[in-house]
């Protein structure tokens, strides 16, 4: 028998949870289920009245398509390269800014600015700066006697440029998390190591970096998921080109859904992206034992 107080408390809890639950169901669960259903159908906005379930036909078509495998390969390369660059730079900058000087608060603010800028606006600015004829980058190269570069013109260079732009925008995110980790770190072992004669570099690699590991793991998971579905930078700068050298899965899904109006096929692509993201992130988290209690390690 539940007491009136317990009943009231239960009612209160349910009431408090209700808005979030409704929003979760309405904005996440329902669209997800609809997407799954679309992915199993021939749904096209051009012929919506011919809607029929084709079950796994879209998935079969996708796995048979060289375009899909090419897009997957590019997406994986882009994700790994971008997150690796951001990780190295973000941790490095956070470590440098950990030693408080008068300039550090100002520098911290400056380094965080890319995070605060609207992505599309920033990318359009990059597009202007990367313009081979009139852009500032080639102008600077010319000033020091170097030949102008075709930043987005060859497959390798285009992908590298996209990684650099992504790193410009998202390195501050890693920096912020790493800086938070460093600030929360227990300084005693570090002081002990320094008293034993360890230099700053040794201390960093043997003490600070291992202690930062859980923070960086979370940052890597967040960034990898985000980099895997990057759209704006690639769409504005290369549109997937040259050829299809930078056409990632997200761009392919956009093409199929928005340009070709093949919603069923686009939904199948989106579902596959979701499954890859879930499997990869779960595998990563399990591999590093992030959520296992320390006592069990």
């Amino acid at each position: 028998m539940i007491s009136p107080a317990a009943r009231d408390r239960r009612r209160f809890v349910l009431l408090m949870l209700a808005p979030a639950t409704v929003l979760l169901i309405g904005l996440t669960l329902v669209p997800f289920i609809v997407s799954v259903l679309f992915s199993l159908s021939n749904f096209s906005l051009i012929t919506p009245d011919d809607f029929a379930f084709s079950w796994f036909e879209n998935y079969g078509k996708m796995f048979d398509s060289p375009e899909f495998w090419n897009a997957l390969r590019i997406t994986v390369i882009f994700t790994i390269a971008a997150v690796a660059v951001e990780l190295v730079l973000g941790v490095g900058i956070a470590a440098l800014l950990h030693f408080e000087t008068r300039a550090v608060p100002f520098l911290r603010l400056v380094y965080l600015l890319p995070l605060a800028i609207t992505p599309v606006a920033a990318v359009f600015t990059f597009r202007i700066m990367l313009n081979p004829s009139l852009g500032i980058f080639n102008y600077m190269l010319k000033q020091v006697g170097l030949p102008p570069q075709d930043w987005l013109g060859t497959p390798g260079m285009a992908l590298a440029t996209l990684v650099v732009v992504d790193a410009w925008q998202w390195t501050p995110f890693i920096m912020l998390i790493a800086a938070g980790g460093l600030a929360a770190m227990d300084e005693e072992p570090l002081e002990a190591a320094q008293m034993d004669g360890a230099g700053p570099i040794t201390s960093f690699f043997h003490h600070s970096l291992p202690m930062l590991f859980p923070y960086l793991a979370v940052a890597v998971v967040f960034r990898s998921i985000d980099a895997f579905k990057t759209f704006d930078i690639i769409f504005v700068l290369t549109g997937g080109g040259p050829g299809i050298a930078t056409r990632t899965l997200n761009l392919l899904a956009y093409k199929q859904g928005i340009e070709f109006l093949s919603m069923g096929y686009a939904a199948a692509l989106a579902i596959v992206m979701l499954i890859i993201t879930i499997i990869a992130s779960q595998a990563f988290l399990r591999r590093i034992n992030l959520f296992r209690p320390k006592a069990a390690l």
């Binding site: 004829s133 700068l237 080109g241």
Partner: protein
């Protein structure tokens, strides 16, 4: 009857009666006075110009009190028509809610809205015609043309629309779903100072174009720039090359012929020009880079939309203002030139609850008086009478206007429609755009790239 040798073939008529011409002249003169006082042409009041619409035998007030939503792309048409809308509201009592988006946002959002059978917008600019008609998102306009309360055929003067514009209105079933709102054609624009400095003249054949472009290229200036980005943007100018080489992308029987010898030769020339004489980074060039580079005198020649002329002629924007020569696309062998052409169109949402009001708006927006007003702001409208007006010629440049008209006349609307109006047009143009990009960057030869595009198109067409 033809008043100018450059007007498009077939059906050009003296566009205005003497009375109308005087009225229009008065409007433009008034506009000139107003613009000289730093006020825009659109400052014309309804009292000054209203009788040009009220003289039509149309019950303009029949839909008074309604509000229609116009979805439009950020485009010169939108810029030109929006300031005139208060005149429409005064004429009809209909309020127009103009909702403008960038082309990327627009093409991403509107299909979803229309696909969900939304009643809004009432009127919209149509971006993928074949898709929109096949999906049933456009109202059949024939009934509105025939409705004597809502239309006045003699006042409307359909023959004043360019033949290509009239052709754009119709789908393969002969039904008019679209209202053409702009007119543009593919033209060459050349920096005359640069040509003169090398003792060169405007090329008239493709071979001469290659020689001229290569001769004009230097460390600081590229000989030529044309669109090459692989996102489909390059297909419009490259399509004009294919048509002028006697080829097609989708032929008039609906067959995929993108890897025909003519098409391959055309893309070999297009890509070769960019490869040998184009700027560094041509791979990411869309129309905006082509225009900006030309206006900054970073390239000597271009081959793109005639609508560039308004910006090129503007000395505030363009270093090439005052010394640009326009020409039609050069000849390829003995084939007739067939530059590409385009009319932006607008249509009525088939699920709109305000179709009559929407029709009145469309009719007003493309009527002679409205086109005359918007063309004086530099808009290339689909009406011959507006192109012939002093206001337009002054703003656009006479030589540019004459060349654009000659190109419109030479363009083959049916060949264009076979590809661009195809229900799977976006898929076809995507494959074609990738091929053009690969040839322009030298990643593939023309034959291999076009064969790959043909295979992809065949797979998409099923």
């Amino acid at each position: 009857m033809t008043k100018s040798p450059n007007w498009p073939q077939g059906g050009f008529h003296l566009p205005m009666s003497r009375r109308r011409l005087l009225q229009a002249g008065t409007v433009l003169a008034g506009a000139g006075v107003l613009s000289s006082a730093a006020s825009p042409l659109w400052a014309a009041t309804f009292e000054e110009v209203g009788d040009q619409w009220t003289s039509a035998d149309i019950d303009w007030k029949s839909q008074s009190g309604k509000t229609i939503v116009l979805n439009a792309v950020q485009h010169p048409w939108t810029d030109a028509i929006t300031p005139l809308i208060p005149l429409f509201t005064e004429l009809t009592g209909i309020t127009v809610d103009v909702q403008t988006q960038s082309e990327t946002e627009y093409t991403a959002e509107l299909p979803v809205k229309l696909g969900a059978k939304s009643a809004s917008p009432d009127v919209y600019m149509v971006w993928a015609i074949g898709q929109a008609i096949t999906a049933g998102w456009l109202e059949n306009l024939d009934g509105y043309y025939a409705n004597s309360e809502l239309s006045d055929a003699s006042w409307w003067d359909g023959d004043d629309l360019f033949p290509s514009a009239r052709s754009f209105q119709k789908w393969s079933d002969g039904v008019r779903y679209l209202m053409p709102i702009t007119a543009e054609s593919q033209v060459m624009f050349m920096n005359q100072t640069m040509l003169d400095s090398k003792g060169l003249s405007a090329p008239s054949t493709m071979e001469e174009l290659m020689e001229t472009a290569v001769a004009l290229k230097s460390d600081d200036v590229a000989g030529i720039a044309m669109r090459a980005k692989s996102s489909g943007d390059s297909t419009w100018p490259a399509g004009g090359f294919i048509f002028s080489y006697g080829g097609a992308i989708i032929d008039l029987d609906g067959k995929n012929v993108i890897n025909s010898p003519e098409a391959v030769a055309a893309i070999e020339m297009y890509g070769g020009l960019l490869n040998k004489a184009g700027p560094v980074g041509i791979s990411s060039y869309q129309w905006v880079e082509c225009l900006n580079d030309y206006m900054a005198e970073a390239i000597a020649m271009g081959c793109d939309s005639s609508n560039f002329a308004t910006d090129i002629a503007n000395p505030d924007k363009s270093q090439a203002a005052g010394h640009t020569t326009y020409g039609t696309i050069p000849k390829a062998g003995s084939n007739p030139i067939k530059p590409n052409m385009w009319h932006w169109t607008a249509g009525i949402n088939s699920n709109s609850a305000n179709k009559e009001a929407a029709w009145l708006f469309l009719q007003w927006a493309v009527s002679k008086p409205t086109c005359l007003l918007s063309s004086a702001a530099g808009l290339a409208t689909p009406r011959a009478s507006a192109w012939a007006s002093d206001g337009f010629q002054k703003r656009f440049g006479k030589q540019a206007a004459d060349t654009a008209l000659a190109s419109l006349k030479a363009g083959d609307g049916d060949l264009f429609k076979a590809t661009w109006f195809h229900p799977k047009g976006p898929q076809i143009l995507d494959a074609f755009g990738i091929a053009v990009n690969q040839v322009a960057t030298g990643a593939m030869d023309a034959k291999s790239a076009m064969d790959a595009a043909a295979a992809k198109i065949d797979a998409d067409l099923g």
